[in-house]
């Protein structure tokens, strides 16, 4: 059947004039189409290359045949094989007078050659000639070719002709000439800078197509320099107006839409011109409003224009009416069944949310739907939106979601991006350090090799510094929890190197600090790490240093140290290591174990990673040694400044000073190889500002140990890194809300821990920490959203102010809100607890949500209507009644908050309920059956 079809095609081909090809070519295509493997295809193509090579060398190839060979060359190059042996023939073909052959030649060279290819020089002349041709098709072919083949050097050769063509009688030629100039501008702006006025002139071309083509270069020019095109604002607006009023010829319509591509380009340009410019924006309001009214949202292209309007409105100075229209358009997009439109809707939402943060509220459901959608593109776009709308109140939910998604994907590129976003959000908005460490652990565990090393240093620094100079108790708790979590994780296979470095460092520094774990236990773990990752020198180095610290602390505290046999063998192995770094660490460790308590304590004091190490830059401790040396006849040290004052050189060895005359040229040439300097160890020759004490032969072990500490110290001192989990704001939360939290939370955590350890999963207790946050989060949600409508309104009014300063200012604004809440509304609501619990499950989820939306939208004056209470009560009841549920909740890593409702109604098994829920949603019955608090967490 297929063959019959092919034969039919072949027959038809014969009648198709210039485009037909020979039987041979058809056979080639067919055999490649039927090739079953890449190898077979390669074999066919290679034999074809052989044939072509031979044919092309034949003396008298008829031109028609030659044309076909060249098409075949193009074809094999498209399949990924080198056809460079035939390039010259393609170049020759461009010289031909026959239009068909010339066009084929141009087609082939534009596909084959890059603009810097040697053969281009053979074409420039032809192009020049063709640009002057009487046949406009020849001119078009040449214009087409110059877009790809002309580089910066050859632009001047064709520029005059192209400029002449701007006035060509054919509009097709004018259009292409403008595009070609645009291309020149992209390649080398300076070469056409004197011609920019031409673009402005062509904007008034009486052919709309030419005008439309002019918009492309203007868009580029305006995005480079907005100010010099402000005068065109009114022209663009009036053009757009005329287009929308259908003043253009019918032939420019596309799907009943007048010149949509021109409209889109104009809107893009207007967005550039109107951003931050009041007067320009005001001119645009009218036409934008018209567009919203006229746009036909039933066609794809109509929606494209609508989206472009939304984008434009989000860029120019905001106008409330237009924002409303945009919001309406977005809700249409989001409600649509088409994934494409949903995507555009989410994108538009992300743009508008910067201007009016409340807009997301009404689309909570749609956003959640998109987040759960199987379409990856849509999901990613939604995560981008969530990233934009994260604040301290919803960071936990959002980051949890992001991490779940991060774990589920394999695409490293996107994994890196989402991991860095998680880290950024966690650093910016972390509600507690404990949470921060947990999030970091997850990020490291699942994307460890992809995150920046600075993130690791940051984490170590956080653990070392804690969150307050005064609160040592909390600090040590934090460290203990970090150590505990690491001890759990450490035995998992295949951890990323960076994460292991962090783990080793923390275990070394704080593993034994609390007295909970014995030194031998921790050191055993560290040895295991060094053993399991024996190919990773960094990890080994960190592990050995950690061992050293642990032994040092033991010795310093007066206990006897038993070096484990595996540790001993590790040290011995490393003593003979190829890596000098590892070797040195091993020697240092060996030496340290032999020292007494007092010496060790001064070398490695307990928990001193954050102390500043005083560096004696004058090296005064060497004075005695120097004195000795000078007395025994050594030359005194001459400082760098003195030396350079004498000899105008910077670093030259003292021996050279006498020989090297002031020979300027030579100095410059020889100055490069600096690194060889330190190898010549002599105290006089150390002009480097940072004294390197490891080269000091005086007291080898202790000082080098100090330098080791120093170097690990230097790694941690990340001066350039912003530490964003601001201390003051955090303390204000703890001081205000920690008391009620701890009283209830204390009990839940305990029962929780028990439940976690009873199940046999290796990571459960690590996982089971989640529920710890869970009730807290729900209370937070309750307090933030239902709590007092007055705080809502006041947030809205302040939202305009605090949104632009995203980081700390944002947090400062949101923190005060939560302070009064845990105390105030709770007692009333707890009374409500039991009854509402039942009513909530009984009510229709739709209604409940409606109630929620209602209370948020027009419940202005802090009234206490029943619906408002629902929204308060719902989350609170969970905290009272879910004690038993919590253990089950901990099973499902994902749906911590959203399952609560289905649980109360559908029985104890949360997983089952989740699945049911998913099934119901798949069938499209009601997407609202989810816990409203989640929406509020996300979208509040």
């Amino acid at each position: 059947m297929e063959q019959l079809k092919t034969i039919g095609r072949e027959l038809a081909m014969g009648s198709q004039g210039g485009f037909g090809q020979s039987k041979e070519f058809l056979d080639l295509v067919k055999s490649i189409g039927e090739a079953r493997s890449k190898a077979e295809e390669d074999r066919i193509v290679l034999s074809e290359i052989d044939i072509l090579k031979r044919r092309l060398l034949e003396p008298d190839v008829p031109k028609r045949k030659m044309k076909e060979y060249i098409i075949r060359l193009v074809y094999i190059e498209m399949l990924g094989h080198d056809a460079s042996f035939g390039y010259i023939h393609a170049v020759k073909m461009t010289h031909d007078d026959n239009l068909l052959l010339k066009r084929t030649g141009y087609l082939a060279v534009t596909l084959f050659l890059n603009e810097d290819h040697d053969l281009i020089i053979l074409i420039v002349n032809t192009i020049q000639k063709d640009l002057r041709s009487d046949n406009y098709l020849v001119v078009c072919a040449a214009l087409n070719a110059i877009c790809r083949l002309i580089n910066e050097e050859t632009i001047p050769a064709v520029l005059p002709q192209v400029v002449d063509l701007l006035n060509h009688q054919k509009e097709a030629v004018r259009k292409k000439a403008i595009m070609a100039l645009h291309r020149f501008h992209r390649k080398s702006p300076s070469s056409v800078s004197h011609l920019i006025s031409n673009f402005r002139k062509r904007l008034c071309d009486n052919d709309p197509g030419v005008m439309g083509a002019t918009l492309c270069p203007l868009f580029d020019l305006i995005s480079e320099d907005v100010t010099s095109y402000k005068d065109l604002v009114s022209s663009f607006v009036s053009i757009l107006k005329q287009v929308t009023e259908r003043r253009l010829p019918k032939s420019y319509d596309y799907h009943q839409m007048p010149a949509p591509f021109i409209q889109i380009k104009l809107l893009k340009i207007m967005a550039l011109l109107g951003s931050g410019d009041k007067s320009a924006s005001e001119i645009m309001y009218m036409v934008l409003g018209d567009l919203f009214r006229k746009c036909d949202s039933s066609t794809n292209i109509g929606n494209a224009i609508l989206y472009e309007c939304i984008r434009c409105i989000s860029c120019i100075l905001p106008n409330p009416k237009l924002l409303e229209a945009a919001a309406e358009a977005i809700s249409k997009f989001l409600k649509s069944d088409s994934h494409n439109l949903k995507y555009m809707g989410i994108d538009g939402l992300g743009r508008l949310i910067k201007i009016s943060p409340d807009i997301a509220e009404q689309h909570q459901l749609a956003v959640i739907d998109c987040l759960e959608d199987p379409d990856d593109t849509l999901k990613r776009k939604t995560f981008e939106l969530l990233y934009k709308m994260t604040k301290s109140s919803n960071v936990e939910v959002i980051v949890d979601r992001m991490i779940d998604y991060m774990i589920s994907i394999n695409d490293n590129h996107y994994k890196t991006e989402i991991a860095s976003r998680c880290v950024e959000l966690a650093e910016q908005f972390a509600p507690s350090n404990q949470w921060f460490i947990q999030i970091m652990n997850k990020v490291f565990e699942h994307a460890g090799d992809l995150v920046n090393i600075k993130v690791a240093h940051n984490l170590m620094r956080l653990i070392a510094e804690g969150f307050g100079e005064d609160d040592d108790d909390a600090d040590s708790k934090l460290r203990l929890s970090a150590v505990e979590s690491y001890l759990q994780i450490i035995s998992e296979p295949k951890l990323p190197s960076l994460f292991l470095q962090v783990i080793s460092w923390v275990l070394g520094e704080y593993g034994t600090a609390d007295g909970k774990y014995s030194a031998s236990y921790i050191s055993g773990k560290l040895c295991d790490v060094a053993d399991a990752y024996s190919s990773d020198e960094n990890v080994k180095g960190y592990a050995v240093s950690a061992l050293m610290k642990i032994y040092a602390f033991e010795i310093a505290s007066g206990r006897k140290v038993d070096v484990l046999p595996e540790c001993q063998s590790l040290i011995e192995e490393l003593l003979a290591s190829h890596s000098t770094d590892l070797q040195q660490r091993a020697y240092e460790l060996q030496a340290l174990i032999a020292l007494d308590a007092r010496a060790v304590e001064s070398i490695i004091p307990l928990d001193a990673s954050c102390e500043d190490i005083e560096v004696d830059k004058d090296l005064s401790f060497l004075n005695g040694y120097i004195q000795q040396a000078i007395e025994s006849g050594a030359q005194p040290y001459i400082s760098e400044r003195e030396r350079s004052g004498m000899f105008e050189t910077t670093d030259y060895h003292s021996q050279d000073h006498h020989e090297v005359p002031a020979h300027a040229l030579r100095f410059e040439a020889y100055e490069l190889p600096k690194p060889s300097m330190p190898t010549q160890a002599s105290t006089e020759l150390v002009p480097v500002p940072e004294p390197s004490y490891y080269s000091d032969p005086h007291q080898p072990i202790p000082t080098s140990l100090v330098s080791e500490r120093e170097s690990s110290e230097i790694k941690l001192r990340l001066d350039g890194v912003k530490q964003k989990w601001g201390r003051p704001s955090y303390q204000s939360t703890t001081s205000a809300s920690s008391t009620p939290q701890q009283s209830t939370n204390g009990t839940t955590t305990h029962s929780d821990g028990g439940a976690g350890s009873s199940s046999s999963k290796p990571r459960t207790s690590y996982e089971s920490k989640k529920p710890e946050i869970d009730p807290e989060k729900q209370r937070l949600a309750a307090s933030l959203f239902g709590g007092s409508s007055s705080s809502r309104t006041d947030r809205k009014s302040s939202s305009g102010g605090h949104k632009p300063a995203k980081g700390t200012a944002n947090k400062a604004a949101s923190i005060p809100k939560e302070t009064p809440i845990p105390v105030q509304p709770q007692p009333d609501l707890l009374d409500f607890g039991e009854p509402t619990d039942t009513t909530v499950t009984a009510t229709d989820p739709f209604k409940e949500l409606e109630g929620l939306l209602d209370s948020s939208s027009h419940d202005g004056g802090g009234s206490t209507d029943v619906m408002g209470l629902y929204s308060d009560a719902a989350p609170v009841t969970t905290t009272t009644s879910v004690d038993s549920l919590l253990s089950e909740l901990s099973d499902s890593s994902k749906g911590n908050a959203r399952t609560y409702q289905s649980q109360t109604s559908k029985g104890p098994n949360s997983k089952e309920a989740l699945e049911k829920d998913a099934l119901v949603r798949q069938m499209g019955v009601n997407p609202t059956s989810q816990n409203p608090t989640l929406f509020k967490d996300l979208l509040g």
């Binding site: 058809l26 031109k63 050659l113 087409n144 292209i301």
Partner: protein, 166 residues
């Protein structure tokens, strides 16, 4: 700006590929393969958009459409509108349909140069030039007419060696 136009069949064989910035052949192949592996893993009934920074550098998007045995793919940067690009694919397909009356994969393979002629009328140097399939058809037909005419005039070809000597 549009960075690339590709057509490939559902087995990943490229049928037409045009990159508007020069790329070496190996890189082109790599990109085609990369795009195909992304496309074939997409389920049915999802959006036609992809963010594809991992292959084409930052801020690159891709719009694709699946017709019978062919994928039509446009790769472009942030200065274009996704929905509009989707319609551009539509324009291209409509035009091809008019060109070959009920276009199928074989037409595209066997009429390689005509395909490029059509594409060059729609996208020029990475910018959208013409979106009306009627106009594109007019231009292409004019080309074929003139080509046929010029062909018949010089039916007797000069020998290659003849013009090699110039």
């Amino acid at each position: 700006m549009i960075k690339a136009v590709m057509m490939m069949n559902t087995q990943g064989k490229p049928r037409l590929a045009k990159f508007y910035d020069y790329l070496p052949v190996e890189k082109q192949q790599e990109l085609i393969r990369g795009v195909f592996s992304v496309l074939c893993s997409r389920p049915e009934n999802v959006s036609n958009f992809l963010e594809i920074d991992s292959l084409f550098g930052p801020d690159s998007r891709l719009v694709y459409k699946h017709y019978a045995t062919l994928y039509f793919v446009l790769v472009f940067d942030g200065s274009e509108n996704e929905l509009a690009m989707l319609d551009l694919i539509q324009v291209l397909v409509e035009t091809l349909d008019k060109c070959f009356s009920n276009v199928c994969e074989l037409d595209i393979v066997f009429n390689y140069s005509k395909m490029h002629a059509v594409l060059d009328e729609i996208v020029f140097g990475g910018q959208v030039l013409e979106t009306s399939s009627v106009e594109v058809m007019k231009a292409v037909e004019e080309i074929s007419k003139l080509e046929a005419a010029s062909n018949s005039i010089s039916l007797v070809p000069k020998s290659v060696s003849g013009w090699r000597g110039r």
